[in-house]
């Protein structure tokens, strides 16, 4: 598919997929795009994007009932299942739909960033010890279980309240919650709508990293682009040490997605919504099926925030034990924690009207501009911190949301580098030893459970994160604040 005649430039770093595009599957199912697609990319990226099925997926999402605005994709777009990874789509709260496929299996996969008073010089000879200690203290890898087993009542509390439960039980600081998206707790989460299967998968996994692209990193500030915003976030100098945690809701969220995909498949038939891809299964937003999913999804989201809360606590403990000073004396305060796989009920101004929308972000990060009440008070003048994890060899970013994003993407932006090579290809191209050596040459110490994951997560298997962020900034949907480079990495 070359998209000739259906894809055109639509301003700086923007391409529009014409709503007149009609695929064979759309014809067969008698559906049309209700709205154009909008992809944030430059010419070079677009060549690569056209090579897989992701544009088709953006077009498919545009056919879903009640979509408001365009079916969007961020510059890190790549082929997902159902929705493209990097996809953003908003649906009217009354006439629209809710789709588990628009969130993904790893509900509230997201990123937490901590600052410190340390500089690279302070710890450069302790990085190996720090990473090894974090690797011991935070369970990771396939089959990893958390350090605690929750009772059924405790698990319900976590599903209902998220990190509030963790902080109350000694895992973290009260003000961590102030700088967590939604204070780590979406209201209305009801554990009764989470299956016993999902609860069984969840109860032993709270406080574990998992595997794949999830990581813990010690990073140093490589560049500060906006000193004022950086200062507000507690970042003041080059080579300052920051800590990044990237993980999600573990088996609990995966099972909730699995359970509700089956329920939604039936709902699809019941409500007569044509399906272009089974992973696009959905139900009318007000239907009991959609509302049950949304309520269970909130539980998974809260679980994920609690998960990153526990991990952050053990990372602080690791630093305190290796450096011999308590975490608060090291200034290990949180900057922010934000989801990049989630659906949220949000209020947005659209075409002159205040609308209630279910905004689906699948591999996309909420990026609210200055002034929004959802942005923590101390950040409200600069905008919401947007955390972009890169691959383990290049860079990660701290950005802020913009007013333009509020008007155009319902306050959404990219979420990472995005893969460019399949895991299979990456394994052949990047033997684990070569990856470890390459990182070592760059001054990055890696500790990982799986040699296979090392090969698959090789920096060469990812798109250029600098370019993804550059395109996002040129499009005006985020502003760069700080560039971070890893000095130590823990992988599952």
């Amino acid at each position: 598919m070359d998209w000739e005649g259906f894809l055109k430039r639509a301003g700086e770093c923007r391409f529009e997929i014409s709503s007149s595009y009609l695929s064979a599957a759309m014809k067969q199912n008698r559906v049309m795009m209700n709205t154009p697609g909008l992809v944030y990319a430059d010419e070079e990226m677009m060549k690569a994007i056209k090579a897989d099925d992701s544009l088709e997926q953006v077009a498919n999402v545009a056919t879903l009932p009640g979509i408001v605005g365009k079916s969007m994709a961020m510059p890190d777009i790549h082929h997902g299942y159902g929705f493209a990874i990097g996809g953003v789509a908003a649906f009217d709260a009354h006439d629209g739909i809710i789709s588990p496929g628009g969130v993904g299996y790893d509900i509230n996969c997201g990123v937490r960033l901590l600052r410190s008073d340390l500089t690279y010089e302070d710890i450069r000879h302790r990085i190996t010890k720090l990473i090894d200690t974090m690797f011991d203290n935070v369970p990771c890898g396939v089959g990893s279980e958390g350090r605690i087993q929750l009772s059924p009542a405790q698990l319900d509390e976590v599903l209902r309240r998220g990190p509030g439960w963790a902080v109350e039980n000694g895992y973290g600081w009260e003000d961590d919650l102030d700088v967590t998206e939604d204070r780590g707790c979406i209201e209305g989460a009801d554990p009764a709508l989470v299956s016993p299967t999902a609860k069984k998968r969840g109860k032993g996994q709270l406080g574990s990293l998992g595997a794949g692209n999830h990581f813990l990193e010690i990073q140093r500030v490589d560049e500060i682009y906006d000193a004022e915003a950086a200062r507000v976030f507690g970042v003041t100098e080059k080579n300052q040490i920051l800590l990044m945690i990237h993980t999600g809701s573990r088996g609990c969220g995966h099972q909730i997605c699995t359970d509700y995909l089956e329920i939604m498949r039936q709902a699809n038939r019941k409500y007569n919504i044509p399906l272009l891809d089974r992973e696009l299964s959905c139900a009318p937003a007000m239907s009991p099926e959609a509302q049950s999913y949304f309520t269970a999804m909130k539980c998974a989201a809260n679980f994920a925030w609690a998960n990153r809360q526990m991990i952050a606590h053990w990372v602080r403990e690791s630093f305190a034990s290796v450096l011999g000073r308590p975490a608060d004396k090291l200034g290990l305060a949180m900057i922010y924690d934000v989801a990049h796989n989630i659906a949220k009920l949000e209020e947005h101004d659209f075409e002159g009207r205040r609308r209630q929308l279910y905004v689906h972000r699948k591999g996309a990060t909420r990026a609210f501009g200055p002034g929004r009440p959802e942005v923590p008070e101390k950040y409200r003048s600069v905008g919401q911190p947007v955390l972009i994890p890169g691959d383990m060899g290049t860079a990660s970013y701290l950005l802020v949301g913009t007013d333009l994003a509020m008007g155009e993407t319902f306050g959404s932006s990219c979420h990472g580098a995005g893969r460019s090579a399949s895991r299979h290809v990456s394994r052949k191209r990047h033997p684990a030893n070569a990856v470890i050596e390459e990182l070592k040459r760059k001054g990055i110490y890696l500790q990982a459970k799986s040699r296979r994951v090392i090969s698959e997560e090789a920096p060469g298997a990812y798109k250029d994160v600098d370019r993804v962020v550059d395109v996002s900034q040129r499009a005006g949907i985020v502003r760069r604040v700080v560039r971070l480079v890893p000095v130590g990495v823990v992988k599952g």
Partner: protein, 140 residues
């Protein structure tokens, strides 16, 4: 006849599993999933696990079957091999697999399989034109 191969997908892992019969292709897909999870290290079989699932169609049956195995792996902490699968009715599956408790030093760390997707799913019953195959995408 009984084998599987990887199908190219950028973000996740897709496999195509072949068998003499459709039931065998289901069994091969299950074994492929544990290869993905364990880094292909040998699994010794002592503990037997029996699984029975139902679904509305064959694709659903494949997804529900493999999803149940993820649950068995994560909650009972088992790794399995040597699957025998029987398909019956519209649509029911009975399977047995043999294996043991997952020990990371023995079985290694492969990929964490989060879910079994319907995307790219194929179920082909090769009664008239062998082999049978199934194709499935794992979210990892």
């Amino acid at each position: 006849m009984r084998h599987y191969e990887f199908v190219d997908h950028t973000a996740d892992i897709a496999i195509k599993a072949f068998g003499e019969s459709l039931a065998e292709a289901f069994a091969v897909a299950a074994e492929a999933m544990f290869d993905i999870i364990t880094d292909k290290s040998p699994v010794d079989g002592h503990e037997e696990v029996q699984i029975e699932v139902e679904a509305d169609d064959l694709e659903g049956l494949l997804v529900v079957f493999l999803s149940r195995l993820i649950f068995v792996h994560e909650v009972d902490r088992l790794v399995l091999k040597d699957f025998r699968v029987e398909l019956s009715g519209h649509w029911r599956l009975q399977a047995t697999g043999r294996g043991e408790k997952f020990v990371s030093s023995k079985h290694g760390h492969g990929n964490h399989v989060k879910g079994v997707s319907y995307h790219m799913i194929e179920v082909f019953d090769g009664r008239e034109k062998k082999p049978s195959h199934v194709q499935v995408l794992f979210d990892v």
